[in-house]
Assembly symmetry: C2
Homo-oligomer: 410 residues x 2
Amino acid sequence: MQMLPIHEQMRIIAKGAAEIINPEELQRKLHDAAGKGRPLTVKLGLDPTAPDLHLGHAVVLRKIRQMQELGHRAVIILGDFTAMIGDPSGKSKTRKQLTHEETLRNAATYKEQLFRILMPERTEIRFNSEWLSGLNLAAVLELAGKTTVARILERDDFKSRFSANLTIGLHELFYPLMQSYDSVAIQADIEMGGTDQRFNILMGRDIQKHYGQESQVALFMPILEGTDGVEKMSKSLGNSIGINEDPRVMFEKIMAIPDSLIIRYFELCTDLHPDEVDLYRERLDNGENPRDIKACLAHEIVRLYHGRQAADAAREYFNTVYRDREPPKDMVDLDVSPFTDDQGNTDLVRILVKSGFAPSSSEARRLILQGGVRLNAEKVNQFRIPVRDGDILQAGRKHFTRLCKPDRTC
Amino acid sequence: MQMLPIHEQMRIIAKGAAEIINPEELQRKLHDAAGKGRPLTVKLGLDPTAPDLHLGHAVVLRKIRQMQELGHRAVIILGDFTAMIGDPSGKSKTRKQLTHEETLRNAATYKEQLFRILMPERTEIRFNSEWLSGLNLAAVLELAGKTTVARILERDDFKSRFSANLTIGLHELFYPLMQSYDSVAIQADIEMGGTDQRFNILMGRDIQKHYGQESQVALFMPILEGTDGVEKMSKSLGNSIGINEDPRVMFEKIMAIPDSLIIRYFELCTDLHPDEVDLYRERLDNGENPRDIKACLAHEIVRLYHGRQAADAAREYFNTVYRDREPPKDMVDLDVSPFTDDQGNTDLVRILVKSGFAPSSSEARRLILQGGVRLNAEKVNQFRIPVRDGDILQAGRKHFTRLCKPDRTC
């Protein structure tokens, strides 16, 4: 295996990391790996219940990709075991129990998404049920005996719940241990995670030692804020940008982030060299319109996941519809004849529903009454009106369709 | 099955019990049992590491015996599972790990001792490894999910250790759960124990309910103080009276308990009717020598485990040696010729070791120098002295041997 010099590898791995515990161990592991021509095993654990990867996941995944390019191999662990058993106390409504089939289906989706970032030939995907479901009580007690109640209750969420007298099921104390045991099972050299995984990943270091293994290095990446600019990016909070999303939607979502996040997104979500990021920072400092810099950011990120062509198209669409408030060039045509009566009045309500711009007739009516519907850029305030061939119907900011008259060919 | 009326059974079961949780449930269970002609299952868990049963265990076992006589059946659970896995944290030096063979050997000893009190035909002995060793992680988490961290940490010893910042291994939290799961496995109707088992047995009630079973009734017996009159009777504290001990030793140990315990021992260790115990209480109150009442107690208890003849003999031996300070009638003869030199001096040190009165020569010398050795009731202060045929050598209070001269037939 041809590898870069250790100090070069260190520089690449450390770039953008929030914390490494600890750099000396990482250096030694890289050295050993180079000496033995053996790639390091980089572990990432993922919850198989939510197979929609977003830019927050990508912060970690792209760091793994960099390590793969250095010659190392990734082991992605899908935590199917806990997903399959659900919540044993039956108290948590949020943890849905998954069947084995659902897990496998999710895994397939994951794979497809992961390989938009990771190198398939240097990635192994494992299910932790492989080793966890076989553990018997004696082995479980052995594992549990390697830590203490006080230590486990130090974890932030346990600590706060415990001191607030909120219920903690005894089984919950096991989750950090299971994650740690995953590291033992695959003999992880490095475990990746957001800084919110600090407790679990550091516990993995201890547990590996107890099982006679060298402790993994903990490599923490910063937590990416979602489009709201406040909360951690998360699908359930509705502030996420999926890596599989339509290029136009992705572009639009990025354009909606607060200006204060522009540089952070450049740093965490693009491959730009720090010097290039500095240039954007300067342009912002010099008073350039943040919207223009954000468009560069959006283009850069969309390009990363969808290629240059899609990125260009998404930018053009955005500029036309949102910046210049003009109809996009690729509108769908809609034949209004089935919705037009003998007096020549067209039923806009039904058209809005038909074209998917409103989920129901009542919503369509509400949209019209609120002034959210335009015909050729003029607000409409009636449900039925005469239209001409080629009229453009607009609902909200971004939904457009071109209307065709029944007596003409569309 | 012919059974006594419920209220009669209730009276017998409740007699001497420290607490029943709860009597209404017990009554209902007895009623159901009578209706279905199905005996109740009475559970007792024992630690297989210490197979020397003493009067403290007997308090509980004799209560079980009474229930067997009412037609119910006992299931004795030997906790071999935890004994076989030892202490997974490796921190406790005191919990010895037992092999399967040792466990089986201990179990055989247990059986022999248990059947001095219990009815073999209504007793089943089970090892909890039978159901615990087969539990896998999913089942363990299910079990753990049925309780909370706060609940488990309410147990007295955990509570005090936790608040004193003493280490509690995470695996230890499982022990009450495993004991509870034993109740599920055998579908216990009643669990017996000392009042110090309160937490574990009440948890068993909860856990059974979680597994869809009716909760067991908890039947707590008082804790018997040992011969020191202070601590709970326990072999490791050296204050116990084993049910298998030699009748003389048993008699002697009972004679050594503090007077304040006489009535309590009558109540907890004999089968005497409460009215008879009241008579002894009156005699004590009337100023009769407690020593004489204690002799009745000792005779009663020895009779229970060794029969009337052995009890009579033990009393006679005690009276002769301890009360009248005379040599017992059944002394062993010892030929002193191998220990006597040409000058006719006998080596007392070697004789004391030979007869087992002193563990070593230095101990024998110490005993002599401290005035603990007598020849025909006279203190000896030399290591070598001339002896005559028929001389009686006494070491301490209770060791006697008759010395024979070499030129005579013993």
